[in-house]
């Protein structure tokens, strides 16, 4: 009851000095805005990173990378075999802890064309059907290539929707969605039949926006409004753009049609793969799995260690480090603002009690104890800070809105309830701490001093 009363008195005190109180709160407001804003940005980053991670094949994907042979094997460098299908077969047969093994033979400097339209894919890769599971692709139209396509090195391809957009037209521009299955396109001048097309990949945020726009479009009242760009380009995030701009052809096709660059017919094309990707069956046994894969590959490479494993964990780690850094700098800014805000509050509370010596003396004369006064001042200080904190929440909302408008991206900042709670709790704590000194001072005021004002 004294508590409620104290809060009421505190609010009155703040209201009585509106502009002074507001200026005092500025530090807290800025502190909370930066705290919540920064955490929203970080949350956005995290969301973006997670989506990107999934777009790139998920955390359980491990890349088998080439590596210079170690120093003690220098003399064997010339016989280093590189990564070939021999490794792939061996891994598939002898490394049961692997779920998927996907060889890739990427082609350089690829240009796709159809009629007078041409484009460059993000990647043109010869691969096996395993690549679907490896890179988390979904064939939305037609089919992926099969064993026969592979065996006969048929000129077939599966494309992402980005390629379709470039060579056949975007659904928006054409007015309907073109499904170019069965059509022929040129890959570096060689005709290929499109047998399948993936679904369109996009971030959660973009998907939401799309849905909203579609709704608006369906609403006849909205017709005639300015046509909005749907941002099919890189806007939806680099990883999604890459994934939509991909072309897959059978591995054998890539090998025979694009690697046999030599003029002599009987020269064997370069069998080295550009990538071997593997997926771990049980992520909790990652180390064991990698050891197994390593053992197998050391056999096929006659002990020459010209390969290494690159887990997404390394990436996750560096991402986490970035996030950590952002957290630290954000926390530092917020901390400094809150500290400054706290000092401001302490200052104003000291001024306030000096103005109120008489009032405090009166309260003591009618029976207030030092503890009553102490709590009263502490609560006033905390109320001041908490109101500042709440205003700061409003500020962070504005800040994040503004940020989302200025830099629209798939990982726009996201305010979390937790960050808000933490921020308000922090400002309350700052208020209480800032109030301690003035409260002690006020509690020690002697009632006679106050009455001596007469």
């Amino acid at each position: 009851m004294i508590l409620l009363n104290s809060i009421a008195v505190g609010l009155k005190e703040i209201w009585a000095h509106k502009s002074r109180s507001f200026l005092t709160m500025l530090g807290i407001i800025l502190g909370v805005t930066s705290l919540v804003g920064m955490s929203a940005i970080i949350k956005g980053m995290e969301n973006g990173m997670k989506e990107t991670m999934v777009a790139m094949g998920g955390v359980d994907k491990v890349l088998v990378r080439p590596q210079a042979v170690p120093a003690w094997q220098d003399h064997l460098a010339d016989s280093a075999p590189g990564r070939t299908l021999v490794d792939v077969e061996a891994l598939r047969r002898s490394a049961p802890l692997l779920r998927v093994v996907s060889p890739e033979m990427a082609l350089d400097d690829v240009t796709l064309s159809r009629g007078d339209k041409r484009t460059e894919p993000s990647e043109c890769v010869g691969g096996w059907p395993a690549v679907l599971e490896m890179n988390l692709h979904t064939v939305a139209h037609g089919r992926f290539f099969n064993e026969i396509d592979e065996e006969e090195a048929r000129p077939v391809c599966v494309i992402g929707t980005g390629i379709r957009d470039e060579l056949f037209g975007k659904p928006d521009d054409v007015g309907r969605e073109i499904i170019p299955v069965g059509e022929t396109i040129q890959i570096n001048g060689q005709p290929f039949v499109i047998v399948g097309m993936f679904q369109e990949y996009m971030g959660e945020q973009e998907a939401k926006e799309r849905a909203r726009q579609r709704e608006q479009k369906d609403n006849p009242a909205e017709v005639g409004g300015p046509k909005r760009s749907r941002g099919w380009g890189k806007k939806g995030g680099w990883a999604f753009w890459r994934k939509n701009m991909i072309v897959y052809i059978p591995l054998n096709t890539a090998w025979i049609r694009f690697r046999s660059g030599g003029t002599t017919l009987n020269s064997v094309p370069d069998p080295r793969l550009t990538d071997i990707d593997i997926k771990v069956a049980d992520f909790s046994r990652l180390e064991e799995t990698l050891q197994q894969a390593k053992n197998v590959m050391l056999l096929t490479h006659q002990g020459i260690e010209d390969f290494t494993f690159e887990t997404q964990e390394n990436q996750v780690e560096s991402i986490n480090k970035q996030i950590q850094n952002a957290r630290i700098s954000g926390g530092l800014i917020a901390g400094i603002s809150l500290l400054v805000g706290g000092i401001g509050i302490m200052n104003i509370m000291l001024a306030s009690i000096n103005e109120r010596v008489r009032e405090i003396g009166i309260c003591k004369a009618v029976g207030a104890t030092g503890a009553n006064i102490f709590i009263q001042i502490l609560i006033e200080s905390a109320v001041l800070a908490v109101i500042g904190g709440l205003l700061g929440l409003g500020g962070s909302e504005l800040f994040v809105d503004l940020l989302a408008k200025v830099t629209p991206s798939s990982n726009s900042p996201m305010i979390t309830r937790n960050a808000e709670l933490v921020a308000v709790a922090f400002s309350a704590a700052v208020g209480v701490l800032a109030g301690v000194l003035p409260a002690i001072k006020a509690a020690r005021f002697s009632p006679i001093e106050a009455l001596r004002y007469e």
Binding site: M1, V9, E359, C363, K364, G367, T369
Partner: protein, 247 residues
């Protein structure tokens, strides 16, 4: 035992090495139901005496007993408690809190007494009715005249039903007529059996109280100065009414 007992009470202030005896060896008893005025020239130690009697301050030497409680040993917290439950104060400058309205001002001592909101409001309104201020509950002190503010202050002093009411120059800041209204209020309270101690240098007030204590240079005067106590006038009026006698 008397309600208030002072035994050899001294209050000494040290100002730059100089010793100021604001009270010097004061021994005094005030009984329940007494109506007392403390008179004396400015700077004689009246306020200091009242502060010690009213548990706002503790003596440098000597003992003070209020309603059986040895005050000179009490902690600040205990003194606050005694002021809250047993004492009501009325000041020259009213000392109402400017940000609270009339009824909230009167409720203030009850807040520190831990009395619940509804009961608080009921008792505050009752006390304000007693001083005929029940119709201005929601006014701010600044919207009231001096006399009205003093009546609110008296209501505040009464509201915890204290044993003693102290008033320091309660009419000092009021015009003669308003002062008389306030004085008659104190008289009525005295007739109802309350212990009232008024610090004043107004002879007309001193003249009304049955007992007068004169302070001179921090000591209680042997004989009360008749002019200061308004007794010369009272004597002149003694034909028409009973003259208040000196204690």
């Amino acid at each position: 035992m008397a309600l208030l007992q002072l035994r050899s009470v001294s209050k000494i202030y040290h100002l730059g090495g100089e010793e100021i005896r604001a009270l010097d060896d004061v021994t005094l008893d005030i009984g329940t139901g007494e109506f007392v005025s403390i008179i004396g020239p400015s700077g004689s130690g009246k306020s200091t005496l009242m502060h010690i009697l009213g548990c706002l301050d503790t003596p440098s030497h000597g003992t003070v007993t209020l309603d059986g409680i040895p005050v000179q040993q009490a902690t600040a917290r205990e003194l606050a408690h005694v002021r809250n439950r047993k004492i009501g104060f009325v000041f020259q400058f009213f000392n109402l809190l400017p940000k609270l309205n009339v009824v909230q001002n009167v409720e203030l001592p009850m807040i520190y007494a831990g009395i619940g909101g509804r009961e608080r409001r009921r008792r505050a309104e009752h006390a304000l009715d007693l001083v005929e201020m029940g119709h201005r509950l929601k006014n701010r002190p600044s919207q009231l005249s001096g006399g009205q503010q003093q009546r609110v202050a008296i209501a505040r002093a009464l509201v915890n039903d204290p044993k003693i009411i102290f008033a320091d120059e309660p009419t000092g800041n009021l015009d003669t007529h308003t002062g008389e209204v306030i004085l008659s209020l104190f008289r009525r309270l005295s007739e109802e059996g309350r212990t009232i101690i008024i610090v004043t240098h107004n002879p007309e007030i001193a003249a009304v109280t049955p007992r007068r204590i004169e302070i001179r240079n921090g000591k209680i005067a042997e004989r009360v100065d008749e002019r200061l106590a308004g007794l010369d006038r009272a004597a002149a009026q003694s034909q028409s009414g009973p003259a208040p006698s000196s204690a």
